[in-house]
Symmetry: C2
Subunit: 215 residues, 2 copies
DNA sequence: CGGCATCCGTGACGATACTG
DNA sequence: CAGTATCGTCACGGATGCCG
């Protein structure tokens, strides 16, 4: 699907043939958070042009990375969803995120930000900590991480019945992700508000930070 | 260093800003096998144009991924070498290779092939098997894998004093890498010739497959 | 000869406008 | 809402030339 194949009998080159094109891996990152409509993808990928996005999605369908599913008539829309093969790109994005994490020290004013972009680095750190479903609330939005099924998966928006809720800011989230701050220490000094909604807790919202996009 | 930054405050996007450009990760793959001269890089990356290669190398220097070192006068040449930061991209290439491995089922006649391109997938399988230094001899060339230092590293050409030598063909190498053939089974049915050169063995070559490029 | 720089044709990309 | 159409620009790939 790239402009041109590398034509190399090499596993990494073959992978880059499929996902090495500009924007493709970032589209995968978006779809890893759950099914998305075209317009939502376009909104969460500032800078991508409409034709390139359409072309990439078409290519990803051809490569078996994603499928296009049409929603029931009430809301005539279609959503794009990763196939299992596409989901298997999570380790690739995780490795890229781990390597690129130091570059987050600098925050440029032109940088866009979506809450669930923190999910992949954070999930690596939270994996093995026990609880299955974690809801994370940032000022920029809410996402959730599932750490029970081997590979950690994540999704946009609030979780259904989270085992634990974390409320923190972006900077703290980064510090926890890169290991410079432990979750315990963050709770101790108040930078992280840890909240375990018991079954008896009503569904009412407790903190002010809501989701940007209702789902 | 890409044509244009993604301008996203996301670790993966930052990584793609640095290494997401066409050819960059394949140049890293080459340099992971050891220092390389410009001409060797150009020879082992069929399809890359001279100016793009020069541009990428310059960008990689700027990003702190590689350094250019001038060799002593006898051979007035300069070699490019990865920095530690560049070497840390190995997990990224490993993840890409793991994901792209199934695409090696099809071997196109236009595909180029270098022996050490098998090193990354094979190293993952050989890691934890014990011996520190493995020399691998394919019909297409020789490379070696170091499995002693945590992350497996590899190099082009024969090893100095390998703990074990493997002689096999490309197809068998793939089968071992993807787990469909164990090393033991390969040795048993003769597809893999396992050779443990003892300290008493003289240095003479024993098999017919020599290195393509003397080092 | 190795290490690029230059030139050029083609194609990919990005922004905007427009349509079913 | 979900793309397609159009267009200017830039990056890529190939060839050649320069310079140590």
């Amino acid at each position: 699907m790239p402009r041109r194949s590398y034509d190399q009998y090499c596993a990494a080159a073959r992978a880059l043939d499929a996902v090495g094109d500009r924007w493709t891996l970032l589209i995968v990152r978006e779809l890893l958070a759950g099914p998305r409509r075209y317009t939502d993808l376009h909104a969460d990928l500032p800078g991508v042009s409409t034709d390139v996005l359409a072309s990439r999605l078409k290519g990803m369908e051809r490569e078996g990375l994603a499928t296009r599913r049409r929603l029931p008539p009430p809301a005539p829309a279609s959503v794009y969803q990763l196939t299992p093969r596409g989901t298997e790109l999570l380790p690739v994005l995780a490795a890229l995120a781990a390597w690129g994490a130091p570059a987050l020290a600098e925050r440029r004013p032109t940088d866009a930000l979506r809450a669930h972009w923190f999910a992949i680095p954070l999930a690596r750190r939270l994996a093995g900590l026990g609880p299955g479903l974690v809801e994370v609330r940032l000022d920029e939005g809410v996402f959730h991480i599932r750490t029970d099924g081997g590979e950690p998966l994540y999704g946009d928006g609030p979780a259904e019945h989270p085992d634990v809720r974390l409320t923190l800011d972006a900077q703290t989230c980064i510090a926890i992700s890169d290991g410079s701050l432990t979750l315990d220490d963050g709770v101790r000094d108040g930078r992280v508000q840890l909240d375990t909604p018991s079954a008896t807790t009503p569904h009412g919202a407790r903190t002010g930070t809501g989701a940007q996009r209702p789902e």
